[in-house]
């Protein structure tokens, strides 16, 4: 039997027909204390509908994100609304309600407040013992609107939005740019598709990648290269040695122009500075003075607007600290170059130079919008993102598809790799986002750019949106950063 849901939106009554009822059991955070892994399963059915099923208890981060899961055993019911699949829930969003009105809703429908949002938003839930919670939610929402004492009220929906673009298989792989939730949580990404409706970057805005070299002849990177230099061996190019593939992977995340393996700022310019080389084992050898000179060169001769530093650890060095300070104070003709630094991968304190003030220090998140730890759901149990004092924002850092050096000495045999990870991969996402912000607002100072990036991050994890030592200000949201920058 088809179920019809009616509610008010945009001043008129909306009518939705539930097109199918899928089998499955849903569990919610309110009824379970299970700390187990939390994920949504989503797969298309033969009739074209989507089934979403709660596979296990919800973590708080997901609840905070959706805040729609009830404790009933009602099956998930998709509703077709054009290109968007709406999944009704047994909760109601109310705007601008006074306490007296919320009390009325409790008396009449048993609705209880489960979450208070910003700007007068309240999320109400129907009683757990309601026989048809979806209908109750819709009825209550209609009644609240018809009484005229609230600004708005409607059932709360989960939405599965279909995206245009490349094939699903290819799009899936760049989850950091656009996460379709398989695996992970839909929208746990840097909001690249939305950001690109505003800008894909300007070539005049340059991002410097300071690393163990960049394959500047790579077909996906070569068109972006504006300047390069080797501060290790004095070569005229920043080409890496041997199996040194790290910098090429970082650069691809910034500005790869391959439409199938796209950088976040694909029209931005690239400055490549080789500052280190592998030691043949698990270490990097680098020279403090050369590194400081590279930092100076990037903003001075290379005209870099952003310095992306996916390296760190070891002892502090004043020559490097001073060079970063000069970049911030004197780069971009005095507006300052933004310094972006990786937090480190030891699941401990943020390492040097990420612990310096007035830079953007980046931790790694995963497909579930979790801080990457040795126990996070991604299954990579050999590393965790550093955290604590100095951490600013998070960005995707697990299984990132990006450019690779050619041949078998890279991460893969092809000139792309789907496996790059670490705060090393998170850092160039943020550097690229800064370049996009500067593309629309080249007049902003580096401090303003940093503030925009932090202020617009999506909060993840525990807490109520304030900075926390585990995730800083939250996960990068490039689209929101661009919107905020335009309003400044």
């Amino acid at each position: 039997m088809a179920t019809v849901l009616e509610y008010y939106s945009e001043g008129r009554k909306q009518r939705l027909t539930v097109q199918g009822v899928m089998s499955g059991r849903q569990r919610t955070a309110r009824t379970t204390g299970d700390p187990g892994p939390l994920r949504f399963g989503s797969k298309p059915q033969s009739d074209g509908q989507q089934v979403m099923r709660l596979l296990a208890a919800q973590p708080r981060s997901v609840l905070a994100r959706f805040a729609v899961v009830s404790d009933s055993t009602t099956m998930i019911q998709p509703v077709d609304a054009g290109r968007t699949a709406l999944i009704p829930t047994e909760t109601v969003v109310v705007l601008g309600a006074k306490k007296a009105e919320l009390a009325w809703a409790r008396r009449e429908y048993g609705l209880t407040v489960v979450q208070e949002g910003s700007d007068g938003k309240v999320l109400l839930s129907v009683p757990g013992d309601a026989t048809d919670g979806l209908a109750v939610a819709a009825q209550a929402a209609r009644a609240l609107v018809e009484r005229g004492n609230v600004e708005g009220a409607h059932p709360n929906f989960l939405r599965l939005v279909q995206r245009p673009g490349p094939s699903v298989a290819e799009a899936k792989q760049q989850w950091g740019l656009d996460n379709d939730g398989d695996p992970g949580v839909i929208g746990a990404d840097v909001a690249a598709e939305a950001a690109w409706t505003i800008t894909t970057g300007k070539t005049a805005v340059r991002v410097a990648v300071l690393d163990e070299g960049v394959d500047t002849a790579h077909p996906s990177l070569a068109p972006a290269v504006k300047a390069e230099r080797d501060f290790v061996d004095g070569n005229p190019t920043a080409m890496p040695d041997g199996d040194d593939a790290h910098g090429t992977a970082c650069a691809g995340i910034v500005c790869s122009r391959d439409p199938k393996v796209r950088g976040l700022a694909p029209r931005a310019g690239l400055v490549a500075a080789r500052i280190a080389k592998g030691d043949g084992g698990d270490g990097w050898i680098f020279d403090d003075f050369n590194t400081a000179d590279a930092i100076d060169w990037c903003w001075r001769e290379g005209k870099a607007d952003v310095l992306s530093n996916s390296w760190g650890g070891g002892l502090p060095a004043d020559v490097i600290t001073a060079a970063f300070r000069r970049a911030r104070n004197r780069g971009r003709d005095g507006k300052g170059a933004v310094v972006v630094v990786a937090a480190g991968n030891a699941q401990g304190d943020v390492s040097y130079p990420g612990n310096l003030p007035q830079i953007l220090t980046v931790g790694a998140s995963n497909q579930w919008d979790e801080r990457k730890t040795i126990r996070s759901q991604d299954g990579e149990n050999w590393w965790g993102s550093n955290f604590g004092k100095g951490l600013d924002v998070m960005a995707p850092g697990v299984r990132i598809l990006t450019t690779d050096i050619k041949g078998a000495r890279g991460y893969s045999r092809k000139n792309t790799t789907p496996r790059f990870n670490g705060t090393s991969s998170a850092t160039p996402f943020v550097a690229a986002a800064c370049a996009l912000v500067m593309s629309v607002r080249p007049d902003l100072t580096e401090a303003q750019v940093r503030k925009v990036i932090c202020d617009t991050a999506d909060h993840i994890g525990r807490g109520k949106g304030e900075w926390t030592k585990f995730v800083g200000h939250g996960r990068l949201n490039t689209f929101e950063a661009l919107r905020a920058a335009r309003r400044l």
Partner: protein
């Protein structure tokens, strides 16, 4: 013979413990330079060169005047590069420490070549 030492970074004294026979790629890369193990366990080789930075040219003049058994090999508006006559990393480290403790400088550091963990977790 231990010859433990230290250097200044961020206004803090960082202790260094001399490693007699470091071996490995850093030793190969650093040649005769002395190698130390730092507080965090990382290895640094100290090369015979000191970099001094200040935005005040008069301070750099005072530094230059104070030098004994060392020479300025590069001078810019805000920077001096100084090499000890002995060509020894140990002397560069001692000189950098003396300058850091005697003058108000943004930077007074001996040249380190270091090994850090590869930032690669893939």
């Amino acid at each position: 013979m231990t010859e433990d030492s230290y250097y200044w970074a961020g206004g803090r004294k960082v202790h260094l413990r001399r490693v007699a026979d470091p071996g490995g790629p850093l030793a190969r890369d650093a040649g005769e330079a002395p190698v130390y193990r730092a507080e965090d366990g990382s290895l640094v080789a100290v090369l015979p060169e000191v970099r001094v930075e200040s935005e005040d040219p008069s301070v750099l003049e005072e530094v230059t005047s104070s030098l004994r058994d060392a020479r300025v090999t590069l001078r810019t508006e805000e920077r001096l590069v100084i090499v000890p006559d002995s060509g020894r990393g140990e002397d560069a480290l001692a000189l950098a420490n003396r300058l850091a403790e005697s003058f108000d400088l943004a930077v007074a550091q001996a040249r380190f070549r270091r090994v850090v963990p590869r930032p690669d977790t893939s």
